[in-house]
């Protein structure tokens, strides 16, 4: 049905472009595919009735973080990097281990599937933004402040790192 269609669309888009992102030789292309993945994720958020998070995902992730990535990529982009080997010496064992990890988690999901309750569609407050803001500024006040301080520290650190003459 409709929501299933939406979900499958976004999910397949996300996974496919994620794979592309990991395998591209050109960093810019990887970035673009990552952006696609993120946008697809945003779509999934929307499909999960999390409008606010949807917008936040687009503004922060796509519009902020990824712009930063692209920016830096353009600053440091080297044509020689296109001709290099893109995977390191431990690629086979690493890939195998990663797959094993995924398999384990998959097994865990399969085994523990019965644990989750029957997915009844609980009614969420129509004003998702107000709800999130309310939770964020009342119950999660301290974490919010800590996060803001984290951002401040990160900003200063980034400035110090990126300045020409440190």
């Amino acid at each position: 049905m409709f929501s299933h269609t939406v979900f499958y669309f976004f999910a397949l888009l996300a996974v496919a472009s994620a794979i592309m992102m990991v395998t591209r030789r050109n960093i810019i292309h990887s970035a673009v595919y990552l952006i696609t993945t993120l946008l697809a994720t945003a779509g999934i958020f929307l499909q999960l009735d999390a409008e606010f998070l949807f917008v936040v995902q687009i503004i922060l992730y796509v519009g902020g973080i990824m712009v930063l990535f692209v920016f830096v990529i353009m600053l440091v982009n080297l044509d020689v990097s296109l001709r290099l080997v893109q995977f390191n010496h431990q690629r086979f064992v690493a890939g195998a281990l990663a797959l094993i990890l995924g398999g384990q988690v998959f097994i865990a999901f399969r085994v523990g599937r019965g644990v989750l309750p029957h997915p009844v569609l609980r009614s969420m407050s129509p004003k998702n933004t107000e709800a999130v803001g309310d939770a964020l500024f009342t119950h999660y006040m301290l974490p919010f402040e800590i996060a803001s301080i984290l951002l401040l520290v990160a900003m200063i650190g980034a400035v110090v790192m990126a300045k020409r003459r440190v």
Partner: protein, 709 residues
């Protein structure tokens, strides 16, 4: 009677203050001042002090004889609190900054400020061409301050402050020409010798406060009465003796007189003021001030009398052969001081003070006149190189003649009265002492006139280049001479009929119980007023005016006048009539003459006995310091430290560091094994993380499996 005015009595503390202020000005910023300003300030301040002293004196005399005492306590200087006296009683020690004016100190401040004022004026002329003008006057005013503190103090400790102050000033002024080695040596000598006496005096003060429980003069007699001390109590005797030691130091008595002749190195006004008129009489003043103690210590008084007598004779004999004009005067000063102590020793305190006063007049005059002479002959001091000056410097000659007559004891001049008083009391107490004093009087007349004749009469022996610019001194020097001359003439008359004694009586009242080795004559019949009532006793004393035995008085007077004229005649015969005789006499008794000429080798004796011993002690201590302290102590300690440090270094290197190195070696081995994990590749670490995750998950699966089955 109406309450007398007490302004000056309330402000006696100002009297020392004026000289102190100007002294401070002089010594701190005097360099920039004009001489005229210096004169104005210093002489002015002394003049002010003199005015205040005069006012205080008058207001004191205005008071009824009984309570002629004014005390002004500024503040408690050393409130040290309670302590145990020797006999176990509790006393409260307090030394306050207080002034006390009674007839004795009134007389003293009059002498000090009066003579001091004259000598200041004289100095403005005498020192006019000297360098360090402001310094000289600064020292002089500082001396005035100290001397006034000394005579005005109301307790022993404050008196000691003045005592040390005058000592310091005398040191500074003797060494005024510090560029002359002899001068600075003389200063040091005076200072050191004084130290000995001062040590005794200080011990005396300690002992006083320990025995009597007070150091206030006003409380000494009461506490003596309270202590019920027997006559000749050893503690009291000890105190008296120690005080006397101090007095010998300050007043140049045997054995501590040696500094005074050398002190003549100082400028003549200084010799006049300090070493004739005031400072050297501090001892006399002090003994008089503490007479209450002495009267309980007959043996101490005996010592005082004997020492004084011997000093008088001894110094006179040395004065006979001196050729330095100032040295002669110095020895005469010593002998006159001996006279005073003789008086004190026989209990004639008033007579002693009386002689002190007259002596201040004529001896100050003598010194100043001598200074004028030296000034005239441009610095020459040897009387053998003078003579026939009487015509050239007439005024000086006249004044000096007056002074010489006065000291020789020719009536009716000052010296006659005072010396006669002393001889009278001495005769009544012991004939031997009288004999010595009598002889001394003769010798005094002799050598004083020898000095006079050699200086002013006979044919001139002055060098020629000096000859033709001999000149009279300026008025600033002559006026004081004349004033002092007048005083030397009339100064003795205050003693006629014992008025002086009556005035001093409240201070030097002779206690009834002083019976000892000598018979102290009571004014009036003995033992009559053994009453407790001081006033009645005083009235009786004042009532009794006439001396005990007029006939005896007359005889003694005649004897002393006779010996005086004999001395004068002998001097005339030897030094004007038969000028060749002295050398013959000298040759005839060569050894003795040489002995006397060399001042009985006393200085050499002291050198051999004390000074060199002290030097040896210093050398011994020095070698001890070098050898024992430095070598054995310091170097030994250093060597020991180095040895210990070597040992600890070995320990540190091999044991401590060794263990550290061992540990680090183990760590190194471990690290060598584990470093192969540390590839430096981030992704290796991530891989390890993943491996760890896989391991955990597998473990959980294992657990879950077991939980299920």
């Amino acid at each position: 009677m109406s309450a007398p005015l007490t302004y000056f009595l309330d402000h006696i503390w100002l009297i020392p203050l004026f000289p102190l202020a100007t002294a401070a000005v002089m010594l701190f910023c005097g360099r920039r001042l004009q001489n005229s300003v210096v004169n104005l300030l210093c002489v002015g301040s002394v003049f002010l002090s003199f005015l205040y002293s005069l006012g205080a004196f008058l207001q004191l005399t205005a008071m009824p004889a009984g309570e002629r005492i004014a005390t002004k306590i500024l503040f408690a200087w050393i409130p040290a609190g309670p302590y145990h006296m020797l006999d176990g009683r509790i006393a409260n020690f307090v030394a306050d900054w207080g002034f006390q004016l009674d007839p004795l100190s009134a007389v003293m401040i009059l002498i000090v400020t009066g003579v001091g004022l004259l000598i200041h004026v004289y100095s403005t002329g005498y020192m006019a061409h000297e360098g360090g003008y402001y310094r000289f006057f600064g020292y002089l005013n500082l001396f005035m301050f100290s001397m006034l503190m000394l005579v005005l103090a109301n307790n022993l400790l404050l008196l000691f402050v003045g005592w040390e102050g005058v000592g310091t000033c005398s040191y500074l002024l003797i060494g005024f020409y510090f560029h002359k080695k002899s001068a600075s040596d003389a200063g040091k000598k005076a200072f050191i010798v004084n130290r000995i006496g001062d040590a005794g005096f200080l011990l005396g003060i300690f002992l006083t406060s320990a025995v009597l429980g007070t150091i206030r003069f006003a409380e000494i007699s009461p506490s003596l009465a309270a202590g019920h001390f027997a006559i000749g109590d050893p503690r009291i005797t000890a105190i008296a003796f120690l005080f006397f030691v101090g007095a010998t130091g300050k007043s140049a008595q045997i054995p501590l007189y040696v500094w005074l002749p050398d002190a003549m190195e100082g400028p003549t006004p200084v010799s006049a003021l300090i070493h004739a008129a005031t400072m050297v009489t501090a001892g006399v003043y002090m003994v008089t001030r503490t007479n209450a103690i002495y009267q309980l210590a007959p043996s101490a008084m005996a010592i005082v009398a004997i020492i004084g007598a011997i000093t008088a004779l001894f110094a006179a004999s040395m004065g006979v052969v001196q050729n330095d004009i100032k040295k002669v005067l110095a020895y005469s000063t010593i002998s006159q001081l001996g006279y005073m102590f003789l008086a004190l020793g026989v209990g004639a305190f008033a007579a002693g003070i009386f002689h002190l006063m007259t002596h201040a007049f004529f001896k100050g005059l003598l010194f100043l006149a001598a200074g004028s002479v030296i000034h005239a002959v441009s610095g020459e001091q040897d009387i053998q190189k003078m003579g026939a000056l009487s015509g050239k410097i007439r005024k000086t000659y006249r004044t000096m003649l007056v002074a010489t007559l006065a000291i020789a004891g020719v009536p009716p001049l000052a010296g006659f009265f005072s010396k006669d008083e002393i001889l009278g009391h001495a005769f009544r107490s012991s004939h031997l002492l009288w004999l010595i004093g009598w002889l001394t009087a003769g010798m005094t007349a002799f050598y004083m006139f020898r000095l006079l004749f050699l200086t002013f009469h006979g044919q001139s022996r002055v060098d020629h280049e000096v000859e033709h610019h001999i000149h009279e001194s300026p008025n600033s020097m002559l006026v004081p001479l004349m004033i002092l001359a007048v005083l030397s003439v009339i100064g003795g008359w205050v003693g006629i009929g014992g008025r002086f004694e009556h005035f001093l009586a409240p201070v030097v009242r002779v206690q009834r119980h002083t019976e000892g080795f000598h018979r102290v004559p009571l004014i009036g019949q003995e033992g009559e007023f053994r009453s407790e009532d001081a006033r009645k006793e005083l009235e009786q004393e004042l009532g009794a005016t006439t001396p005990a035995a007029p006939s005896e008085e007359i005889i003694l007077m005649g004897a002393s006048v006779a010996i005086a004229f004999a001395g004068i005649g002998l001097a005339w015969f030897l030094y004007l009539k038969r000028t060749d005789l002295p050398d013959k006499i000298a040759k005839s008794l060569g050894g003795f003459y040489r002995l006397v000429c060399n001042k009985y080798y006393v200085d050499e004796l002291y050198d051999a006995l004390f000074v060199n011993r002290a030097k040896d002690l210093g050398l011994a201590l020095g070698s001890f310091d070098r050898n024992v302290i430095d070598d054995a102590g310091v170097n030994g300690a250093g060597w020991l430290t180095r040895f210990i440090s070597k040992v600890s270094m070995w320990w540190d290197t091999w044991i401590v560091d060794g263990s550290v190195r061992l540990g680090s070696f183990f760590v190194y081995c471990l690290g060598f094994v584990s470093k192969f994990l540390e590839t430096g590749y981030v992704q290796n670490y991530m891989l390890l993380i993943v491996v760890g995750l896989i391991g955990f998950l597998a473990y959980y699966f294992y657990l879950a499996h077991h939980v299920i089955h």
